[in-house]
Symmetry: C2
Subunit: 482 residues, 2 copies
């Protein structure tokens, strides 16, 4: 008998799931890159400029020295007591590595940990959350995970019973959410962020969409909020967050707070507030609201995507439901210990008086101020282009400009059976080597077109991107202008 | 409104899923450990002896020096060129770290990699598979994962459409399989390993169970084989493997080969053969059989559970199905880079002539020969106990002895609404501090009782386990003997 697994016989939920961030445009970019390697004159550009994914170190961002020193020492503790180690590593990294190893049963960094992560590291994280928010945090509420994505999957797996269960998600959204909801067989209930007012999240819109979902027989179980926003880059105002918390409390919804960009705020008038702090400051405790906050080592100024560290803080669930979350964590045994250690480090970096403090602050602020400059440069450049409007990047790592495509361009796209934003991005890539992700991968108001551009290429590349994009856009508009 | 998520309203598949390896007995063990810490005289033993999980480094097994040197250098490449580094690290670890960094785009160990893992590391792994099997391996068939568990989940997610889709699994089995099938809503189709002949996998049994499943309206999609066996410790004979391959080919089943214990073979008369090698040696290629092999850095002599490295080699699927597997891998971005590096290292350890070769071999052989001794000591001890029979541990890290419990013990268990094997294990833990997992967590022929015991406690502890177990068992039998 011939093998039987074909596309017609695999799980239809897998077929349905989409993940644009690594979709068609990126596969085309990889193909072009290989062609250029083989034949440098194949295209009118010598390199691919990846602006498609929040992967800072792939674009030259340096890791924070102190964090890497500690990781190296924890990987090979045999050198801790050697004289040469003191010449190679900072004194406080040696001290921190010793402290972390003392927190690990048997100092065994090669052992599976507790399913939620090493208790001592969760203590460190809980203390850091307390210091950040001014409200208590319990290490037993922390579930350490391989980046934030598995944590999101775990919550979707817990909450979704069938396609009748809905999850309120922002549009535009980070496609992890739509992908995870599709894989678990639920329904994505969209709520639209208001582009005109700077991607504001209106509670009236949440209410409207919740009612509509209910009238369609959908039980809405949770609300996803991404703050700072991905792909939209806005930072929520505290008053707005209060109204969101109130809405979730009134409707009995789980608030799934994607707070992985909590360190990425670039404008002085905005500040990150965790949803837990906001809820607690309103007097709402464990019994009032189900609240899950996601954090990751991949973002912030650290940008350690490859280490796959992260955690979720789970509050407001009964002990019996918690046991099932624990069981889900157990089935995968534990998250990787290097990522766990790094998660504790990013939540508890060097402090005033520590030997590494000044160099750490210089590295951190260098990265954050450069990101702010890059965001502003790109935002200004987009806003100078004909038919393009771009909201301010208050935070996160992205811009999500809107492009008013000429009718002729839309028609040309339709002729090749391509979404107009994909058509634009494909042309851009083929002519300049710049990789943007079409807005359709994130969702957008029907009839509007966008793309997502990261602010991550190093500063010396940003100017090249602006120049190439500006030239391309002018040619494109000249070709298609109505 | 009060929060709405209760046990009655979460995904029933999550409720159904069981994972005994970290279940009731282990939670009790953790409780006892805390009590002993608070009050050392609380129990007639001073420490908990964990024999419940394949987690070698938690029980004192040392990591392989060369592997950890390379990991440390890759975490903090800034020290590579320093003079002191040559005093602290072996010359070939420095060389290997440089080579690995060269294989990583931008030398960025903190960047997300290709969704399948870093291409250069997959090249290394494919070359090692080729050297092991004598048949070609393609780096594009390798999907690197955070340990083997996520790879197993990915395949279950791909194959299971509904409860009408079945997966043939050995009984006893490693409960990752039953848990994953439950979470994805499929049906576990059991086939029984024959305990009397040393846990032999009879193809006649596969055929019988396949027919029965078909007559119940189940579409069987895949066969799981764990070789060497978990929890049963047997190593399949090559002829047996050929018959299994033939069966899968005839029935069009995906062969899911759990080969994570490939380095753990303790008897000279048995040898590990990968299912891919067996299939290719029979002349079966890509077009003849769907074959997935799972490997992990957690097992073998390396036992690096906490690093969460592993891969699956996926062969025999059409390009269109492969795209969907790739998409599933993409949704989680990539596995952790430290784990990826380690996976390449365990598949390509130091070679004759390398500076670290001799110390590496001494460490490796020291661990493997000690494991073999520990397996034999425990096997012999079990077989001396009244009413207990134990097959040979040919490989893996476990023994799965059968206990013929007296009727009176079974009755006593029923009176406290407990499975008899759980009753035995709970008594054992409370009286001796030894942690075994009851056989019911792995599945067993109805009316038979077993427990799983790892061979991992260090040799000086093994004798204590044997003594305490022997004393306990005698008391238990004296109390309950018919």
């Amino acid at each position: 008998m011939a093998p039987q697994v074909t596309v017609d016989s695999i799980n239809p939920k897998v077929i349905e799931c989409q993940y644009a961030v690594r979709g068609e445009i990126v596969i085309l970019a990889q193909k072009l890159q290989q062609e250029i390697q083989a034949k440098p004159e194949a295209y009118p550009f010598q390199e691919i400029l990846y602006c498609n994914i929040g992967n800072p170190q792939s674009l030259g961002q340096k890791s924070i020295t102190f964090f890497r020193e500690v990781l190296a020492l924890c990987d090979h503790p045999a050198i801790l007591a050697k004289r040469e180690t003191q010449a190679l590593f900072s004194a406080d990294s040696i001290e921190r590595a010793r402290k972390i190893l003392d927190q690990i049963p048997g100092r065994a960094t090669g052992a599976y940990s507790h399913s939620q992560g090493i208790k001592g590291l969760r203590d460190t994280i809980a203390a850091a959350i307390e210091a950040r928010d001014g409200f208590p945090a319990d290490p037993n509420d922390i579930f350490m995970t391989d980046g934030a994505s598995p944590a999101v999957h775990m919550m979707m797996q817990l909450l979704i019973r069938s396609e009748k269960d809905g999850i309120l998600c922002p549009i535009p959204q980070y496609p992890l959410y739509s992908a995870s909801i599709a894989l678990h067989g639920g329904s994505l209930v969209p709520y639209y962020l208001d582009e005109v007012t700077g991607w504001v999240l209106e509670v009236s819109e949440l209410k409207k969409q919740l009612q509509e979902a209910k009238s369609n027989g959908i039980t809405v179980r949770a609300l996803v909020v991404i703050n700072p926003g991905n792909p939209t880059g806005q930072v929520l105002a505290e008053e707005n967050q209060k109204a969101i918390v109130e809405f979730c409390k009134e409707e009995g919804l789980v608030l799934l707070a994607d707070e992985v960009y909590q360190e990425n705020v670039y404008v002085p008038e905005k500040k990150f507030h965790s949803f837990k702090k906001v809820a607690r400051s309103m007097g709402y405790g464990e019994k009032d609201i189900h609240l899950v906050s996601f954090q990751s080592v991949s973002k912030g100024y650290y940008g350690e995507c490859g280490k796959r560290g992260g955690y979720m803080e789970v509050t407001g669930f009964g002990a019996d439901v918690r046991e099932h979350i624990y069981k889900l964590a157990s089935v995968n045994l534990c998250s990787n210990i290097t990522g766990q250690i790094l998660a504790s480090l990013v939540m508890s970096p060097p402090k005033v008086g520590d030997k590494s403090y000044e160099s750490y602050i210089a590295e951190r602020d260098g990265i954050l101020s450069s990101l702010a400059r890059r965001a502003k440069t790109l935002e200004d450049a987009f806003n100078k282009l004909e038919g393009i409007t771009c909201n301010k990047a208050e935070g996160a790592m992205y811009l999500f400009p809107r492009i008013n495509l000429p009718k002729k361009a839309i028609k040309a796209a339709e002729e090749v059976k391509t979404a107009p934003d994909l058509f634009y991005c494909r042309r851009l890539l083929n002519e300049t080597g710049i990789v943007f992700v079409p807005g359709s991968g994130f969702g957008q108001v029907p009839g509007t077109w966008h793309f997502r551009c990261t602010i991550l290429p190093q500063e010396e590349k940003i100017q090249a991107i602006v120049t190439r994009l500006t030239d391309f856009h002018k040619r494109f508009m000249d070709e298609f202008r109505d």
